[in-house]
């Protein structure tokens, strides 16, 4: 009898789980749901346009989707089109892998001024995510941007603001974004962290790339590179931090070259206190910061020094972490923004050891919004191992008959909800590549939902 599985979310988490389930169980039938017309999650809408080699993993995910035991259902949204309760009735196993589509807030005054966005919104905008195209961003009147946070997403957004638009125009960047960047007046970007270069969350590859960015002067205050004994201990125990710190050191020692018209400045030991409004009271004009210091040992505490300063700017991008969204009937830890789980098995609440039969989580919804694409492979292995144990112990409904795909199709057709198959995505994919080829781009992303659906749903009626 088939093992009917529904995976919600078609990013790396969802696809690695599907891949491993199909490998482990010959009798698995895996349906992958995706609320957007196009699959692949953050590989498509998160990875920066100038990092095409990071997107090669799509080839592997496509091979999984093409397995005859796997079906892709695009344009189907958990909550709106089908409820979690319904899915749990018609599948033996449901794996939620829908990631993190919201943001941590700073919780400071001025956060809702115009010109203040989360990095996620800006990334969705330049990556042609359908929900990001209408971002009210204006780069024509802005000379300075402040990015809050020093992780890889912070470096991505800083780099896209500073890279020459002519270089970006041969990537898969969204057309509306490269148009706006061509007339951008931004010449200076600050990347601000609350702690020091020893604690910076970015990794070596991304830092190395931005430090070598053509036409951009790098500014680092050498005083920020002083290390304490605690810092040295931290560096000793982490290869990643050691190599990142080394790159900051190397960069700070070089004499600045004249003739570079853009600047990237790393600001350390500054915590945002408020975002300042311009005279109109509507737009952001600056960031009010407090100098910080790390104190103590094990654990080290971040404290304010009582000294303040301001950075003038017309654009603020908050890159302080993504956050998952809850859905009805799903246990959720609102503080951490994840689903409480035991090796991927959803726990009935974070106060109990009981788990929900047949319900699992994978990816950022399980672990929080950290790690790289490959992290999901390890994560998926853990979840699939849990599923395997539960199937072997007949914990999963003693494998009684459930309708699986047929049940889902019935629910969707009752609502007149049309879904995009993987063949439909391949049509959309071909169209994007053809449109891109004309402009010397690998693809021209179709950003409007209606246009994407028109192509993806064509000829679906049998």
């Amino acid at each position: 009898m088939p093992l009917h599985v529904c995976v919600v979310g078609s990013g790396p988490a969802g696809f690695y789980v599907a891949k491993k389930l199909l490998k482990r169980f010959d009798f698995a039938r895996v349906d992958i749901l995706e609320r957007l017309p196009a699959p692949f999650g953050l590989v498509r809408s998160g990875v920066a346009p100038d990092h095409p080699e990071t997107k090669v993993v799509i080839n592997q995910f496509s091979r999984t989707a093409e397995d005859e035991r796997c079906r892709f259902f695009g344009n189907v949204c958990l909550g709106t089109d089908v409820s979690l309760e319904e899915l749990r009735k018609i599948y033996h196993v449901v794996v939620l892998a829908y990631g993190a589509e919201s943001d941590h807030r700073l919780g400071i005054p001025g956060e809702d001024l115009e010109g203040v966005f989360s990095a996620r919104q800006f990334v969705w905008w330049y990556n042609g995510h359908p929900d990001g195209k209408d971002l009210p961003i204006n780069l024509n009147n802005v000379e300075t941007a402040v990015v809050l946070g020093q992780g890889n997403v912070a470096l991505d957004v800083a780099r896209i603001l500073l890279r020459s638009p002519s270089e970006l125009s041969s990537t898969d960047i969204a057309e509306h974004a490269v148009k706006a960047l061509r007339t951008s007046r931004i010449r200076k970007v600050y990347v601000v962290g609350r702690r020091g270069p020893v604690q910076a969350a970015c990794t070596a590859k991304e830092l190395r790339e931005i430090l070598g960015l053509k036409g951009v002067e790098i500014v680092i205050n050498e005083a920020d590179l002083q290390t304490t004994d605690c810092d040295l201990e931290e560096l000793q125990s982490s290869r990643i931090h050691k190599r990142v710190f080394d790159l900051f050191c190397k960069s700070a020692t070089f004499t600045k070259c004249a003739g570079r018209d853009k600047q990237l400045q790393f600001v350390f030991f500054r915590a945002p206190v408020s975002l300042l409004a311009a005279e109109d009271g509507i737009h952001v004009r600056g960031v009010h910061l407090q100098k910080t210091r790390l104190e103590g040992n094990n654990p080290r505490k971040l404290v304010g020094t009582g000294e303040f300063e301001e950075l003038d700017c017309g654009l603020v991008l908050k890159s302080i972490g993504y956050k998952s969204l809850p859905v009805p009937d799903l246990p959720f830890d609102h503080k951490k923004g994840v689903v409480p789980n035991y090796f991927g098995r959803v726990r009935s609440s974070d106060a109990t050891n009981e788990t929900e039969r047949g319900l699992y989580v994978a990816g950022w919804l399980k672990r929080g919004p950290t790690g790289i694409i490959g992290t999901n492979e390890v994560c998926a292995q853990e979840v699939v191992t849990s599923i395997e144990e539960d199937v072997n112990r007949a914990v999963v409904s003693n494998l009684k008959e459930v309708p699986g795909s047929v049940g889902l199709e019935s629910i969707l057709s009752e609502k007149n909800k049309r879904y995009i198959t993987f063949e439909g995505w391949e049509r959309l994919n071909e169209t994007e590549m053809e449109k891109g080829a004309v402009k010397g781009k690998p693809r021209e992303k179709i950003v409007g939902i209606d246009e994407a659906l028109a192509i993806g749903l064509a000829k679906e009626k049998e």
């Binding site: 100038d50 990092h51 095409p52 080699e53 990071t54 090669v56 993993v57 080839n59 592997q60 890279r163 270089e167 041969s170 990794t203 070596a204 590859k205 190395r208 790339e209 430090l211 070598g212 960015l213 053509k214 040295l232 560096l235 000793q236 290869r239 990643i240 050691k242 190599r243 710190f245 080394d246 790159l247 050191c249 190397k250 960069s251 020692t253 070089f254 830890d333 951490k336 994840v338 409480p340 789980n341 035991y342 090796f343 726990r347 974070d350 050891n353 790289i372 694409i373 490959g374 492979e377 390890v378 292995q381 853990e382 191992t385 849990s386 144990e389």
Partner: protein, 186 residues
């Protein structure tokens, strides 16, 4: 201070041990970070398309057969071993895939991931490899279960001196669910 290329390589080799111990010795003041010109930096062609083009062009297919081969053994996380013959010049990632060994290669050899991470079981043979590039080290930073003899499979190219090498596939999971284990608070 400026050093010749040969002297830099020799210094790098001698410093590699120190580099793992002391972060401050790493602050080389001698070379500038390279500027990235996106226009001239082309992403490496994914190995899968290189493999396909090799299979379909007869002259190179014939020469693959004629190339000398070395013996390589892959050991999976359960201890199962598989020994294969690898033509000189082929990467371990390609060799694994050609022999249906489960070595993940998400970026297909473009140095954009760490999923083809393998562990050398013989330190002597590990020392015979050229030093990893900065780009490979950047990816090794992120590999799970990194060891002193870890390398990326896509960067290990078969050569006669590596005959007999044994490569361990790192365990895929960090956490092992054990029956009866009480779940920790999340």
């Amino acid at each position: 201070m400026s050093l010749s290329a040969a002297a830099r390589r020799s210094l790098a080799q001698r410093c590699s041990h120190l580099r793992r111990e002391s972060p401050l010795l790493w602050c080389h003041r001698s070379s500038a970070p390279q500027e990235h010109d996106l226009g001239s930096r082309r992403p490496p062609q994914p190995w899968s398309s290189r493999l396909r083009s090799r299979a379909f062009s007869s002259p190179s297919a014939a020469s693959e057969q004629d190339k000398p081969k070395i013996s390589v053994t892959f050991v999976d996380k359960n201890g199962s071993e598989k020994s294969i013959q690898v033509p000189v010049g082929m990467s371990m990632l390609e060799a694994a895939h050609e022999n249906e060994i489960e070595l993940e290669g998400a970026c297909e050899g473009s140095l954009a991931c760490s999923t083809c991470h393998v562990i050398f079981m013989d330190e002597e043979l590990y020392q015979k490899l050229p030093e990893p590039s900065d780009e490979e080290n950047d990816m090794l930073d992120l590999a799970f279960g990194l060891t002193e003899t870890s390398r990326l499979g896509c960067q290990i190219i078969a050569k006669p001196e590596l005959d007999g090498m044994r490569l361990a596939l790192p365990p895929a999971t960090r956490n092992f669910a054990v029956d009866g284990h009480v779940p920790k608070p999340h």
